[in-house]
Amino acid sequence: MDRFLFLTFDGLARGAVLAAFALSLVLIWRAARIVNFAQGAMAVAATYIAFTVTALTGSYWAGLAAALVAGFLIGAVVERGVMRFVGNSSALNPVIAGLGLLMLIQAVLGMLFGNSYRTMVTPFSSNPVEIFGITVFSSYDLFVFACIAVLVGGLVLLFTRTPLGLRLRASAFAPDLARLLGVRTSRMLTLGWAMSSALGALAALLVIPTELGLNPHAADAVFVYAFTVAVIGGLDSPAGAVLGGLAVGVLLSWVSGYWGATLAPIAILVLLLAVLLIRPGGIFSMTKERTV
């Protein structure tokens, strides 16, 4: 029982990061109908900036702020500089552009920082604490939860309660109509990319120190898992990304804990296959009724 609880808590902690990363993919999908294959590399680039800032200033918090700002700017630059010019004539175009960008960013990071693994500091201990004899979260896990909860909660409030959020949603759902109503959809698109990229950067910054180690390819596996989570939850559904992320995190933790870590990717693929066979739009996909 103790082991089960430990694995569950550990899974939730990892799942929170997957949820945040999946949500960042969902935000871009909703805003631009693009699965951004460069998202992982963009997040790692922001993490390298955080790493550098922390190394220069000695402050983890300065690094955290730098990651968010860098993530935001990288997202805006990628949208304005690359994705905007990728035609929509084929759904494959943005995918290929994303893959190209992924390789470019990884190559540049390799040239600037080298390909070796670097260790990053965490602001809190990552050793799990015992409560009533059960090993549960570490203080770092709680910090991860808090960061993600604050950012995701903030995004939810922004999207549902503010005029800016209404503009962002209108641009995502019906760009042509939104423009007719005076929404500057082009700015909204850039902002959507920027926010999503900042969220991805936060997820990478939180997971890299304990799980992966900093390396240009650090987020490759996270991207694959998060993409799976996004598809399972429904690419259109922010709630699906969050709940799917937590569920997949727990599943990964159980499978690795009971049957060995090598089976974890297979379990995810089986889950993905099952969801695609039974409910191809994803578990939380929204019912659409766009035509009258």
């Binding site: 209404l166 939104a178 007719l180 009724e289």
Partner: protein, 239 residues
């Protein structure tokens, strides 16, 4: 007669296909002008051109104080007092009634004025007030049309353009909507350009009627006169 909206020699089309040919049209300020014509006459293209969704290849589009809208991008149109109620009741179905309405007034800096107009819209369109939290896709056709109209009015436009507002609506509902346009014209001095296939109803509410055929204006007269011209009706409107 001052022009609320003046088109001068406007031509437009899609690629090599020219749809509108040298359109001269003056919509008098505070009046309702109906543009009628068969399918493919270029009615929707005309609205797309006025609202900046389509660039004219020639000519100019001006509003009352002489401001030139010819090159104004579509998202800036509401800021110049031009609002469109799109064809097929363009409601954003994922958003609620209230969100759709609010969106119409978002470009305005004065939040309180926007709130006041929102309250007015709920008064004007009582069914919407009862369903303010309902998602767009849950509304009936008539409710959607009211919502699209209410949302355009939230922008406090001087020029309101409507693309086939009665399409697919029950005759009673469509009469209600068209009747509302007259009230708005009388109460607020709104300038209305109405595109309709339902020629009788359109000419019944309009002050002025314009017949469009194959992208050219073939008649432009007071609406009542136009409605009684049987020859013209037979030739261009098919009844």
């Amino acid at each position: 007669m001052t022009g609320g909206l003046v088109l001068d020699g406007v031509s437009a089309g899609y690629g090599a296909v020219q749809v509108l040919h040298n359109i001269d049209l003056t919509v008098a300020e505070g009046s309702i002008t109906a543009v009628v014509g068969a399918n493919g006459a270029g009615k929707t293209t005309l609205l797309r051109t006025i609202t900046g969704q389509l660039r004219p290849s020639a000519g100019s589009i001006r509003i009352k104080d002489g401001r030139d809208l010819t090159r104004v991008p579509v998202e800036e149109m509401v800021r110049h007092g031009v609002a469109l109620v799109p064809e097929r009741r363009g409601v954003i179905t994922e958003l609620t009634v209230e969100e759709n309405l609010r969106l119409g007034g978002l470009w305005r800096k004065d939040r309180r004025a926007a709130d006041e107009v929102l309250a007015q819209m709920y008064e004007l369109f009582e069914p919407l007030a009862r369903r303010r939290k309902a998602a767009g896709h849950q509304l009936s056709g008539g409710e959607r049309q009211m919502l699209a109209l209410g949302r355009a009015l939230m922008a406090a436009p001087e020029n309101l353009l409507l693309d086939e507002p009665s399409l697919g609506l029950a005759p009673k509902v469509s009469a209600q909507i068209l009747g509302m346009l007259r009230r708005l014209r009388d109460d607020t001095g709104l300038t209305v350009l109405l595109i309709e296939q339902n020629v009788r109803s359109a000419l019944a509410v309009a002050d002025h009627g314009v017949v469009l055929n194959l992208g050219r204006i073939v008649a432009s007269r007071p609406a009542a006169e136009l409605a009684e011209d049987t020859d013209l009706r037979h030739t261009y409107l098919g009844f």
